[in-house]
Structure formats: C-alpha cells, structure tokens
C-alpha cells in the first residue's frame, strides 16, 4: 500500500510539473509579445503610406502589415530636420560625457579607496550625502552659473556638469576597495609610481565595474532630455532626444515620419544593448548589492 501512495505522489507531481511548464511558457510568450508589439507597430507604421495610418481598419491585424513598403519616410525624415546633425551632436556629447565620467570617477575613486590624506573620509561622506539630494536642487544654480558665464546654448553646458558624478565615484571606490592589495604592494616594492599602479593594475582589474559605469553613463546621457532641453536653444546644437521632440512639434500628425524618426533614434541603442547586455545585468546586480 505504501509504495502505491508514493508512486501516486510522484505521478501527481509529474502532472503538476507539466502543467506549470506549459503555463510558464504561455505566460512568458504572451508577455514577450506584449513587450515587442509596440516596436513592431512602430516599424510597420514607419514603412507605411501616410494615408494607411488613417484608413479605417476592418480587421485587428491591419496596421501590423503594411500594404506596401515605403522606405521614403526615412529619407523624408532626414530632409525635414537635420537628423544627421542631431546624431553627430548626440554622439559627440555622449562620448565626451562618458569618457570624462569614467576618467574623473576612476581617479577620485582610487584616491578614496587607496590613498590616505587629511579629510578623506569627511569628503567622501560629503559625496555620499549629495547622492540623496534630488538632481533638480542643483539644476537651478548650475543654470544660473552657466548663464552668467555665457555658456548657455553651448555643448559645454551639457558636458561639464555631466562628467562629475558622485555616483560614479562611489561605485568605483566600492569596487576598488574589494580588490586584493597584494599586487599593488608588490608593484610598490618594484618602484612603480602611484599613477602607474592606478593605470597598470587597478584599471585592468576593474574592467567589469568600468564597463558597467561606461554603459550606464552612455545610456543616461544618450537619452538625457530635461537638461539639454533647458540649456540648448539653437536647432543646429540639438541632441537627438531634443531633435525628435522638435520634429514632433513640427509634424505632429505625420505619424509615418514620426515613427521613422523614432526607429532611427532607437536603432543605435538596440545595437549597443545587444553587445553590452552582460554588463547591464552585472551592473544592476552590483548596484543592488552595494545599495
């Protein structure tokens, strides 16, 4: 008797496992479709004729499949506003901010993690304290400062405040602290300078943390909207997000054009993401544990 009950339990568990297996996949697939659908909808619209968008749809699938492929929307979007210029502006600003952030944060992170100097811990506490302040608090005085310097509507106004982050310094300092000291001590005995240790030992050992900071900073400044909106006023200096907003305000009903512009704005992000996915996942875990 006892053995049959055990077998029963086993069989019941098998049935349960199969059911939950199918339910899980159904859930995941439906969810993934809901996530991807808006992107497909965007792509289709960008390839459609303008009048197709407004045509009454008899079936639910209309609007998902363009009646014919119109790639002219992309060319037209480029002609209506200087999209290529916006792209270049965004690339320039993003690269400057990313390189600057990684450079200054890693230098300072090294000083905080490894060097002893008077007031180190007090200064570090000051850095930490500002992490809790809403960014908008500093926005107003920084804007006033930049306008008094006459830097409003220049790239400096976006780049300079962007490359000094307490967050990046904190992240890298925490990572540097976790590195073993033995290598550095050996290098020191061999007569390596402090900069040499930073450049030849600490940085190469910190690739995961540096990659995380790089991807986050890159994404953050690529999509940054509020600050560029505040400081930029001339069209030829617009970054891509401001450019799309501007494009939208000019052609608020040309949905095919708007979608073509959106596809072009998202494409580089998708490419970067596919290549850096690992660092995102690791970076998120890292920030979660340290926080």
């Amino acid at each position: 008797m006892r053995e049959t009950t055990l077998a029963d339990i086993k069989r019941r568990r098998q049935v349960l496992d199969t059911v939950s297996f199918f339910l899980s996949y159904a859930f995941l697939i439906l969810g993934a479709m809901a996530m991807i659908a808006p992107f497909l909808w965007m792509l289709t619209t960008s390839l459609s004729e303008a009048r197709d968008v407004w045509r009454t749809k008899e079936f639910w699938w209309q609007g998902w499949v363009p009646t014919k492929f119109i790639y002219q929307n992309y060319i037209e979007a480029f002609q209506v506003v200087p999209f290529a210029k916006f792209y270049l502006n965004s690339i320039f600003v993003t690269l400057c901010i990313t390189a600057g952030t990684v450079f200054t944060s890693s230098l300072a992170g090294y000083a905080f993690a490894r060097l002893s100097f008077p007031g180190r811990d007090k200064i570090f506490m000051l850095y930490l304290a500002t992490l809790m302040l809403p960014g908008v608090i500093t926005m107003i005085p920084v804007f006033i400062l930049l306008s008094k310097l006459g830097w409003i509507d220049t790239y400096w106004a976006i780049i300079l405040p962007g490359i000094f982050t307490a967050y990046g310094t904190f992240l890298l300092r925490q990572f540097f602290m976790s590195l073993p000291r033995a290598l550095e001590d050996a290098a020191k005995i061999d007569g390596c300078s402090l900069f040499g240790i930073y450049f030849r030992i600490i940085l190469p050992l910190s690739k995961p943390a540096l990659a995380t900071l790089t991807t986050f900073t890159f994404m953050g400044s690529w999509m940054s909207f509020m600050w560029p909106l505040i400081v930029l006023s001339s069209e030829e200096k617009y970054t891509l997000p401001i450019g799309i907003q501007y494009f939208k305000s000019l052609h608020s009903t040309d949905w095919t054009l708007l979608m073509a512009g959106s596809v072009m704005a998202l494409f580089p992000i998708l490419v970067v993401f596919i290549f850096t996915q690992r660092y995102f996942v690791e970076g998120i875990k890292l920030s979660g544990i340290k926080g």
Binding site: S24, Y25, F27, M35, P38, F39, W41, M42, T45, W54, K57, W60, G63, F103, T104, S105, L107, A108, Y110, A111, L115, S116, F117, I123, Y127, T130, M132, L133, P134, V136, T138, I140, P141, V142, S147, L160, F164, T169, R181, A182, D185, K188, L194, F225, M226, L240, I244, Q245, L258, M259, S262, A265, F273, Q277, F280, V281, I284, K285, G288, G291
Partner: protein
C-alpha cells in the same frame, strides 16, 4: 602588515591624492556642492532670472508659505502620487516575472532581452510611439477595444486617453508598467531568487509545505532585502519623475492633470524664471523624499530579514 609601507612618505602621498582627486573634486565643488548651498539660499529670496542680482530681495520663509497655500502645487503633488501607483504594480509584475523566469527555461536570453527592451529604449522616441498607440482615432489600443466590442456585439469605444483628464494619468501608468516590468527590478529579483539556498526549499518540502506556503515562508522573507531596496529607490525616483513623458506626450495637460512636482519646478524656473520659488519647491521635494526614506528605514528594519 604590508599596509605600513603606504604610511611612509605621507606628504608625497597626500600630494598625489590631491592630484588624483582634483578633476573630480573641482566639478563636484562647482556643479554639486556649492550649487546645493546656493539653491538653499535662493529658496529664501525672490529673484527673477533676467533681473540683476541687486534686485534679489530676501523674503524669509515667504516662498514656503506661498507654496503651502498654492492650490496648483497640491494638485501636482496628487498627480505625482497617483503616477507612483505604478510602483507597487510594477514590483508585483517584476516579481511574478522573475519567479517564472527562475525555472529551467529554454531561450532564457531571448526572453530576458525581450522584456528588457522597453527599459533600454526609454526616451523621447518611445513617448512618441506611445502617443501613436494612444491616438483615439487610429491608435492600436482603441482599435483593439473596438474589435473586442464587435466580438461581444456591444459598441465599445475607447477613451480619448492622453486628452482626457480622467484617462491621461492611467495612460502614463500603463506605459510606465510596460517600460519597467522587465527592467532592473526584475533582474534584481531574479538574482535574489537564485541566491536562495536550495536546502531551505527541501526542508520545507519535508515538512509538507505547499508551493504557496513555501513562497510565504521561504521566498518572500529571503528576498525581502531586495524588495526593500526596490521600494526605497522606487519612491525616491518616483517623486522626481514624470517630467520627460508628460512634457513630450501631454505637455502636462489636459488641464494640468499630468503635471508633476518636477514639471512644476521646471515651469517655475525655466519658463517663468521664478528662481527663488522654484528652489523652494525643490527643497520641499527633498524634504518629502527624506521623510519617506527615513520612514522606510524605520519600518523596513522591522520587516526585512537579512
């Protein structure tokens, strides 16, 4: 033991530290710490951006008193809190998704990428896309609602979404859920779930616990530090959010129904140039965030298991 070596030549090291720190510290000084003080002082002054400094007048606590009586401000506070409804919903969704994904799923990378895409692509282009989806005449949402109604033989008509005072906020919440469910929170939950020792579940099985009981007795307490982190970060971010999407999609309307605190600060500072008042609102915002965070720490300390 070897650390004693670093103590030698302390002046030389101090100088080196100074050089290492300088690029970052100068920026920190001019773009973060000094502006914090300036902003604090500014909150007690009445000053218009286009006026010379000499016209700035000290008004004491007037900015804050005006703020407390500002009915628009309270309305925008309510809007901000309403939009933060997305936080608990999003946490629930992320956790559910992480639990499903924490099985032996084939093509896990595909699913993770698919769910992460909306987070990665956030930004103006996505807001424009969702304006298209919410369009009452040709948007996909109302098309689906129409077809669904036809299926049931009742004339269903979708709302005007972004131009309807009642539906504009829920529309932003729905979009926010789509953006965040598969994002960082899901990945944090997934990592937390993977970190739970298998023995705990085995022990629970031996005790005859059902899947539901295992969740409440093992999973939920074990992931409580992650939940705590997500809630705190969500609330801090939530109070400061809502500008980008509202600016692009609704302009803060209709009738101010999607204007958040951040949007109001933006308007005061950079549209109406009322710098003192804007600084006062931003400090009020800080105070609200601080109170919520402290409250969270206090409650969290009792609920969270480490």
């Amino acid at each position: 033991m070897f650390n004693t070596i670093t103590l030698k030549n302390s002046t030389k090291e101090g100088l080196a530290a100074f050089l290492f720190l300088m690029p970052n510290f100068l920026g920190f000084l001019f773009f973060t710490s000094l502006p914090v003080f300036a902003s604090f002082l500014l909150a007690f002054f009445d000053w218009h951006l286009l006026d010379p400094w000499s016209k700035a007048t000290f008004v004491g606590l007037d900015n804050f008193i005006v703020l407390l009586k500002d009915t628009f401000f309270w309305k925008y506070c309510w809007n901000t809190v309403f939009l933060m409804l997305g936080i608990p919903l999003g946490i629930f969704g992320s956790l559910l998704l992480a639990i499903v994904m924490n099985q032996k799923i084939k093509a896990i990378v595909f699913f993770r990428t698919a769910y992460f895409l909306p987070t990665i692509c956030s930004g103006v282009a996505i807001y424009v896309l969702w304006m298209h989806i919410y369009n009452p005449d040709h948007g996909y949402f109302n098309l689906l609602i129409n077809k669904f109604g036809e299926l049931l033989h009742i004339p269903l008509r979708g709302p005007q979404w972004l131009t309807d005072e009642v539906w504009a906020k829920p529309a932003l919440v729905i979009m926010g859920l789509w953006q965040t469910i598969g994002g960082p929170n899901m990945i944090l939950y997934l990592a937390a779930l993977q970190g739970i020792p298998k023995e705990l579940y085995e022990a629970a099985s031996i005790d005859g616990a059902s899947a539901w009981q295992k969740f409440w007795a093992v999973t939920w307490p074990m992931i409580s530090p992650t939940t705590f982190f997500i809630v705190i970060m969500g609330i801090i971010g939530g109070f400061q959010s809502g500008f980008d999407a509202a600016y692009v999609m609704t302009g803060g309307g209709p009738n101010g129904s999607t204007t958040t605190i951040m949007f109001y600060i933006y308007n005061n500072a950079f549209v109406w140039f009322k710098m003192g008042y804007a600084a006062a609102i931003s400090w009020f915002l800080f105070l609200v965030i601080l109170i919520f965070t402290l409250f969270n720490w206090k409650v969290g300390g009792k609920v969270v298991h480490y």
